[in-house]
């Protein structure tokens, strides 16, 4: 397989259109999710679908997958008009959707997951385990991956789980594969492997749709690109004919000139002081400070222990040694309430599970953290909650139809704004924010970054954990790097280059160099 990814070097003849959507519309009550969506995907090509959160990508995918039925418009598969009323019908028609985080049966083996619901049957109606296992091995060989077919699905990396889904799709001979933000939780090596598989599927003549917020990936992988905005089709182009700047402009309907609006701030006294924090098997001897007005980035690979530190400092997880102080007073372990009382806030990594009570309203979510201070004589009413929530929703420009709407119905970006509102309402002195912009659209990303800069400008200390290197380098005054549960570097902004951070995050020897030396030495080692 060719290692060059430049689209210009692989002139391709697009095949027949596999999927054609024309003027597809879908509304939920009063809310228009799709106003008029067009999408044509050809066999033997990888088609990027981009747009801000709330642009209608997910709704479109769910219509194609048979989860939703469209209200109007044309939906053709290989030239035939189709009308799916269930995911089973869409699967049978050769459509496979690979989600960001596949749902497997954790206690069943890889092979059993692969053939769930369609196990090959031998004589007397018994499941033919041998045939199943052989087929699984054949599929993995074809995808050039190594996954033990007998191991339980539990503990598989997200990348391997996705590959399992792809293997399933291939064994069903899917002609259209839709990958919905598959790379959000993958490491660089895993992304490369996924892309190699995607290209080989394309070369077999299958049609692929790739949804992503990461433009470098879109441009490296895809042949054509469709932009959506506000539930509408905007444009479709050959990938070589457009630039990332042009695509972003179409997505947001305006220029986003400054994605990382870093303000110069005066850095003050130490607010958060973490000393010798240890938790066996998770992280050890973690020491760092966050000063007033300072944004400290915490970088490292997924699994290096960054989120675990955030949870321990905030008191959600226990630790065995070390101390945490905030503004000179000790923060006791194991008590988020005590941490909050001393002025700490944590915007957690998993917005949907940890950040929000999804089935509760926008107002209740926004005020859950301040429910005690909101109460008068121990009594809290919806009136108090709505008044407080309206202020914060308005300041952060949360888009919702009403304050009693379930927060789970909002787009990812708006959900993140509700989490931020909930924590800013506590008026914290130190904000720990874990993956501030994961899975949210470009426009909201810039808003979140601007907000963080403003907060630092007014003296808040911010610890920002991020897997997006441009975000860390663009926003942080100082960058801490972790590798395998240890802090391996503490780089001031001037020395924090992509090379220095990645070296400290990945290279065992790079740690000491990055700690003491200049970035040049670190890069050289």
């Amino acid at each position: 397989m060719s290692t060059t990814h430049s689209p210009s070097e692989r002139p391709r003849e697009p095949g027949e259109p596999t999927l054609v959507l024309r003027r597809v519309a879908k509304s939920f009550g009063q809310v228009v999710a799709l106003a008029s969506a067009d999408l044509t995907v050809h066999a033997g090509s990888i088609h990027a679908l981009v747009g801000e959160n709330g642009a209608g990508k997910s709704t479109l995918v769910k219509i194609v997958a048979g989860l939703y039925t469209r209200d109007s418009g044309d939906f053709e598969l290989a030239g035939e008009s189709v009308n799916f009323t269930s995911t089973a019908e869409s699967k049978a028609a050769g459509i496979a959707v690979i989600y960001q985080e596949p749902t497997l049966f954790p206690d069943l083996s890889v092979t059993e997951n692969l053939f769930m619901g369609r196990q090959p049957v031998s004589r007397f109606g018994r499941i033919d385990r041998k045939a199943m296992r052989a087929e699984a091995l054949r599929l993995f060989e074809r995808l050039a991956v190594r996954i033990d077919p007998d191991r339980p699905a539990e503990g598989l990396s997200i990348a391997d789980q996705q590959i399992l889904e792809i293997a399933k799709a291939i064994s069903l001979d899917a002609r259209l594969l839709i990958m919905d933000e598959p790379t959000a939780a993958l490491s660089g090596v895993e992304v490369d492997r996924l892309f190699a598989i995607a290209r080989s599927l394309r070369d077999e003549g299958r049609a692929l749709v790739f949804i992503s917020h990461r433009f470098d990936e879109v441009f490296a992988l895809c042949d054509t690109i469709t932009v959506m905005r506000d539930g509408r089709y905007i444009s479709t182009d050959d990938i070589a004919a457009v630039t990332a700047e042009e695509i972003v402009r179409r997505m947001v309907g305006r220029d986003v000139s400054d994605l990382f609006p870093k303000q110069e701030t005066t850095i003050g006294d130490v607010l958060l002081n973490v000393t010798g924090l240890s938790s066996p098997g998770v992280f050890s001897d973690i020491t760092f400070t966050v000063r007033s007005g300072e944004i400290v980035g915490l970088a490292g690979l997924v699994g290096a222990g960054r989120s675990e530190i955030a949870r321990a400092v905030f008191g959600v997880d226990p630790y065995t040694a070390g101390t945490v102080t905030l503004g000179g007073t000790r923060v006791p372990p194991n008590s988020p309430t005590a941490a909050m009382a001393r002025g700490m806030a944590l915007v957690p990594e998993d917005r949907r599970k940890q950040g929000l009570v999804l089935e509760s309203s926008v107002a209740r979510n926004t005020t859950l953290s301040i429910r005690r201070t909101l109460a008068k004589a121990g009594i809290i009413t919806s009136g108090f909650e709505n008044a407080a929530a309206a202020i914060w929703a308005s300041r952060l420009e949360v888009k919702t139809s009403a304050l009693d709407s379930e927060v789970g119905t909002l787009s990812g970006g708006n959900q993140q704004k509700v989490v931020l509102a909930k924590w800013l309402a506590t008026n914290p002195r130190v904000l720990i924010i874990d993956e501030p912009t994961r899975g949210i659209d470009v426009g909201t990303k810039a808003e979140v970054h601007r907000l963080l800069s403003e907060l630092a400008g007014r003296g808040m200390g911010i610890l920002m954990i991020s897997s997006e290197l441009p975000e860390v380098l663009g926003m942080a005054d100082r960058v801490l790097v972790m590798r395998e549960g240890r802090l391996t570097a503490d780089l001031p902004r001037a020395e924090a280059t992509a090379e220095a951070v990645m070296l400290a995050a990945t290279h065992p020897g790079g740690a000491a160099d990055a700690h003491t030396g200049t970035p040049n030495e670190a890069v050289a080692s």
Binding site: A25, T337, K353, Q354, L358, I380, A390, S401, A402, R450
Partner: protein, 347 residues
């Protein structure tokens, strides 16, 4: 660019997606209350003796233990837990009252001891569930047997019946000139306390958050374990109070008092619109649910229908109410389709 966090709000928000009447009328609680009213009207018109004051008095006297225990049980179920040991705590409390009265203790101290025993029973449940981390279903199946065993073991198969007449009369007494039993007063006080606790306090907000997402509640500073522990202690306490009432009402302390009552309580709570998965429910619905089961039982007994048939009817009602709520949710999603099918060009 003005400062995001300090500038004056520019956007305005509707507080509610639906008007007030829809938020009040289109609820599961309202459906149960409407059903209760219909059954009362129908039974009064057709069942001989149902409308009489004495029927009302006995109806209230009979459902009071369920009404009382349903209050804390609602809160426990909304956090996503369950307490099956409540009827055994009633029995244990009854036995404590009986033995200590027999031993000649002052009556106030007898009641206090029974309440403390109930609270300890609840605390043991709470400890095993929140500190040891065992599932409440398993823990309370165990303590259901344990507390019942203790109760029967303490008193054997005998019954204590020689209670001061003042107290047994008080349990059954009515307000002068009415058919309203006096026991309604402590119940109403407790009902108001629990309703305020659940619906109008930060503690109550925590209860709902725990039931919907324990993780998100933890990250928001809700004391998940402490909240649950408190609720189990409250359940034990109220169950012990129900046990004191039960003993005096029937003038009899027995180890097997109120056997099986836990299922009536849980059935009534679920009928009242509380989700067994936690996170949803309201106390007025639960009270209507208890009364509905009580009224049905009372009317059917008066109509000479056997208790097996009454059980079948309440069972069917419970299943139907669960089916109806999911059917309603299903219809709601279906109904949106024709509305959305109109062309959406504006926008």
């Amino acid at each position: 660019m003005s400062d995001t966090t300090t500038r004056t709000p520019t956007r305005t928000y509707r507080n509610y997606a639906h008007p007030l009447w829809r938020r009040i009328l289109f609820t599961r609680e309202m459906a149960i209350i409407a059903l209760l009213v219909l059954v009362v009207i129908y039974a009064s018109a057709t069942v001989r003796g149902f409308g009489s004051p004495i029927t009302f008095t006995y109806l209230i006297l009979d459902v009071t233990p369920i009404l009382l225990i349903a209050l804390p049980m609602t809160l426990v179920i909304i956090t996503g837990e369950i307490d099956l040991s409540v009827a055994s705590v009633v029995g244990l409390s009854s036995v404590v009252v009986g033995t200590l009265t027999q031993a000649g203790w002052p009556i106030a101290l007898v009641f206090l001891t029974a309440l403390v025993v109930g609270a300890i029973g609840g605390a043991i449940n709470g400890f095993l569930i929140t500190v040891v981390g065992l599932p409440s279903l398993a823990v309370t199946i165990g303590t259901l047997a344990l507390y019942r065993g203790l109760a029967v073991g303490l008193l054997g198969t005998t019954a204590v019946t020689d209670f001061p007449e003042y107290w047994t009369a008080l349990a059954k007494s009515r307000f002068v000139g009415t058919s309203i039993p006096a026991i309604i007063v402590p119940f109403l006080i407790l009902a108001v306390i629990f309703a305020v606790l659940l619906h109008f306090t930060p503690f109550g907000r925590g209860i709902f958050a725990i039931g919907l997402s324990s993780d998100a509640a933890t990250f928001s500073g809700v004391h998940v374990a402490r909240t649950k522990f408190i609720l189990f202690v409250l359940t034990g306490l109220v169950s012990a109070f129900a046990g004191i009432y039960y003993t005096l009402r029937f003038g009899s302390a027995r180890g097997d008092n109120a056997t099986g009552l836990e299922l009536s309580v849980i059935a009534a709570v679920l009928l009242g619109g509380v989700s067994i998965f936690g996170g949803r429910g309201a106390l007025h619905g639960v009270i209507a649910g208890v009364l509905l089961i009580g009224v049905l039982g009372s009317a059917l007994r008066l109509a000479n229908i056997t208790s097996d048939v009454i059980n079948i009817i309440t069972g069917v009602l419970l299943v139907l109410s669960v089916v109806a709520s999911s059917l309603l949710a299903f219809l709601r999603t279906r109904r949106q389709k024709p509305k959305a099918a109109t062309p959406v060009t504006a926008g």
